[in-house]
């Protein structure tokens, strides 16, 4: 096959669609099977293998996708040009609206978390309930400073993208990632182990413990998710995808990161600084 037919075949392939949605969708069964084994503590190695298999699959998929992202976008506009719909990048291509929608679902999620927390908390005569350990706020304060700084570094990345400074973009993204990792390290490496092993304060320590771990836990999960999309952004920055006029993905990541940061501020005020105590 000559190079030309090859390219042609690749084009055909794209018009015909992609096998990845089916692969990822159907393989969630492996993820779920693994999770169930882990939850029930039976065949935990098999469970771990299954979960990691799914994660590896996702990584392969994302790498694959990132490499042809540019191509996907341009063929999207090509397809639009054949229709009467105005194919102007600012109108149909900008990332603000989809990101806002996504953050709307995230808002609903966290609103239900805070709502559930306050609903049950209001049934307690005193809060924190008697006998609950005192939650030290030294680490959370450091974490707050870290996250606030990371909001600045991610904005630096966006600002550098606007200036066309690709090294600045990469530096900003990596700095944000490092701060995110330190944040998680403090939580999982120091704070939680101390609470669990020294104070015996676990998710099973009544509603007070359960709610503490679920709120900080889902937030932590979002930080981890953020670190992953930052890694994708870093990869795209290395490939030189971000241009002064087109860096939508980076904008989206920064919006998300700032959103997660905002949630942390609320958690910090409510859990450690006694906001809304009555």
């Amino acid at each position: 096959m000559s190079a030309e037919t090859n390219a042609h075949a690749a084009h055909e392939e794209h018009e015909e669609g992609s096998i990845w949605p089916a692969i990822v969708g159907l393989n969630t069964i492996a993820l779920i099977a693994g999770l169930i084994l882990l939850l029930k503590g039976i065949y935990t190695t098999v469970g771990l293998i299954l979960v990691f298999y799914f994660i590896a699959l996702l990584v392969v998929f994302v790498v694959f996708e990132v490499r042809q992202w540019q191509h996907v976008i341009s063929s999207f506009f090509e397809r639009l040009q054949k229709t009467p719909i105005p194919a102007e990048p600012e109108k149909v291509g900008s990332v603000g609206f989809p990101t806002a929608l996504f953050l709307l679902t995230e808002t609903a999620f966290f609103a239900s978390a805070f709502g559930a927390y306050f609903l049950i908390r209001s049934t307690f005569p005193v809060w924190p309930p008697p006998g609950a350990p005192h939650l030290e706020n030294f680490i959370p304060r450091i974490q707050t400073i870290i996250l606030l700084t990371s909001s600045v570094t991610i904005e630096l990345a966006v600002w550098s993208a606007k200036k066309g400074n690709n090294r600045g973009v990469l530096a900003g993204i990596l700095a944000t990632m490092v701060l995110g990792i330190v944040f998680m390290g403090l939580k999982l490496g120091i704070e939680w182990p101390r609470l669990i092993y020294e104070l015996g304060f676990t998710p099973a320590s009544g509603f007070y413990g359960s709610s503490f771990y679920i709120l900080t836990g889902v937030h932590g999960a979002h930080v981890v998710g953020g670190i992953i999309v930052l890694a994708i952004a870093a990869g795209r920055a290395k490939l030189g995808h971000f241009k002064p006029k087109s860096h939508g993905f980076l904008d989206a990541v920064s919006l998300y990161w700032n959103f997660v940061d905002l949630i942390w501020l609320m958690l910090f005020l409510i859990i450690w600084e006694g906001a809304f105590l009555w």
Partner: protein
């Protein structure tokens, strides 16, 4: 010349005959067809479970299945019908039609669209293998203390369907916002597109709440957290709040697309433009908004204070108003229209009629003192089946008949269609009216045996269920046979374009423009 050869081949073998095409397609019409195939399969599976239950209930003794198996039957039946029949069938219509109606080449994110679909088979498999026995509402604390692994699978299954529908909804909103061709805007956009837009917003706001509630349940079951059990200060009622904050909007997730599709096909069938376009569009939005403020009408008997409950009663009654506005506008469209008695028209009419009956039974239950008597009886079961089968499923049937010639380029058999119509409608009233009566007499729901004095009504209901089952089989045979052997259909099967209301507005405008240019 392998390339041209495969081209020729591609035109002659339909896409659904190649497994590779099925697995790789990202085209909206084809994904739409996959959704149809999937949801109709689960209509049959869920229907068989229903017949199994009705068979048990034909006699007062529990002699067909044991109590635990019966619990699983109604749990899996309910979850299947809500999440794997009624939701995906309208996602199928939305996939097929929304891009054509707004003149877009496809959805905004075609690959994500395919992903939304491919998550569903996994979720369905989890539900069926898990065979949970806790009711589709999964009330705590039962779901916390029931050790069966099936409950965990039920939770994860719902997580996956939820993810699928959130992804799908984001996709639809962005598509509707961005890929409308010039000339289609919010004041003339087809009403089905309106209903999908509102539904998608409901999904992205309500489903995350369910996801959170399910996560807490999973933790309570496996990590000893105490969200839903009172010992550590938690509260089983929290589950009901989270579940119904999602659950009531969920019923609008099902009914709004049904109303939307009826608003499309009704005027084309009676050859008269829809009456009150604006009223119907705005009432869709209003239902979507009010729907978030009524969830505690499922919790009237939980011991919440009456002051907290009263606003929910009023809000619930208020939802009846926008619903009524729609009904009145459909009736006004009928008035002076040319009513043709073909199968889609008949099902459209029975949709409107049954929606009125089902809606009025809902308004009764919205009264707190009335609901104290009706809660957890067969009255509730009768109410929501009138809506879910009588209205929503019949709207899906009407639309399936209406768009069948578009999907397959062939015509179905009218005679079999009418047989289906008669058996479905005679069957449903024989099935659900006795349920309402049984509920008023005090028959509780979710029991597999009962006092002998209830047998008469139960037997009638079982007979009705069998009629519905027979009708549904005739329906599906009609579709399958006509798909292969039916007479060729015209491209404008209902003379909609001839009457100035082309079935797919955006596509029609695109064609006109293309002709003008050359």
């Amino acid at each position: 010349m392998t390339v041209t050869q495969s081209r020729v081949e591609k035109q002659h073998t339909p896409w659904y005959k190649s497994l590779r095409r099925i697995l790789t397609t990202t085209h909206h019409t084809e994904i739409g067809m996959l959704y149809f195939a999937f949801s109709y399969i689960f209509l049959i599976v869920g229907g068989l479970f229903a017949l199994w239950m009705r068979w048990e209930l034909a006699t007062p003794e529990g002699n067909v299945v044991d109590a635990n198996f019966y619990n699983s039957l109604f749990t899996v039946h309910g979850t299947l019908m809500i999440f794997f029949w009624a939701t995906p069938v309208f996602f199928g219509f939305a996939n097929y039609m929304v891009p054509k109606m707004i003149g877009a080449p496809d959805l905004y994110y075609p690959k994500l669209n395919a992903l939304s679909f491919w998550l569903l088979p996994v979720a369905a498999a989890l539900l069926l293998i898990g065979w949970p026995n806790i009711g589709w509402t999964g009330y705590a604390p039962l779901t916390v203390i029931q050790p069966d692994i099936g409950v965990d699978m039920w939770i994860l299954s719902l997580h996956i369907v939820g993810t699928s529908s959130i992804i799908g909804s984001l996709n639809f909103i962005v598509t509707i916002w961005r890929l409308r061709r010039p000339g289609i805007n919010f004041s003339n956009m087809p009403l089905f597109v309106w209903s999908i837009a509102v539904t998608a917003f409901i999904i992205i706001l309500a489903v995350p709440v369910l996801a959170f509630g399910l996560t807490l349940l999973l933790l309570d079951r496996n990590f000893g957290t105490q969200f839903y059990i009172p010992e550590g200060g938690g509260d089983p009622i929290l589950w009901q709040h989270l579940f119904w904050f999602f659950g009531h909007p969920e019923v609008y997730i099902l009914v709004l697309p049904a109303m939307g599709i009826i608003s499309e096909i009704l005027p084309r069938l009676v050859k008269r433009p829809i009456y009150g376009y604006k009223a119907i569009a705005y009432s869709t939005v209003l239902i979507g908004v009010l729907g978030f403020g009524v969830w505690a009408h499922h919790m009237f008997t939980t011991g919440m204070s009456i002051n907290a409950l009263a606003p929910f009663m009023l809000m619930t009654m208020a939802v009846a108003i926008p619903s009524g506005i729609k009904v009145i506008n459909w009736e006004a469209t009928l008035y002076g229209g040319k009513i043709r008695f073909n199968t889609p028209t008949l099902f459209t009419l029975s949709f409107i009629g049954t929606f009125i009956v089902g809606g009025i039974t809902g308004v009764f239950q919205a009264g707190i003192p009335v609901d104290f008597h009706l809660q957890d009886t067969y009255f509730v079961v009768g109410h929501f089946h009138l809506i879910l089968f009588g209205a929503i499923s019949q709207a899906a049937f009407a639309a399936t008949y209406y768009y069948f010639p578009h999907f397959t380029k062939r015509m179905y058999s009218e005679t079999l269609g009418k047989v289906h119509f008669i058996s479905a409608n005679v069957g449903q009233y024989l099935l659900y009216i006795p349920m309402l009566a049984l509920g008023l007499l005090g028959m509780p729901r979710r029991y597999y045996e009962y006092l002998p004095e209830f047998q008469g009504l139960h037997a009638i209901a079982t007979f009705g269920a069998i009629l519905i089952g027979v009708g549904t089989i005739i329906f599906l045979l009609n579709l399958l046979i006509s798909w292969k052997k039916g007479p060729a259909a015209s491209p404008d099967p209902w003379d909609a374009a001839k009457n100035g209301m082309p079935d797919f507005m955006g596509e029609a405008m695109n064609e006109v423009e293309a002709q003008r240019h050359g």
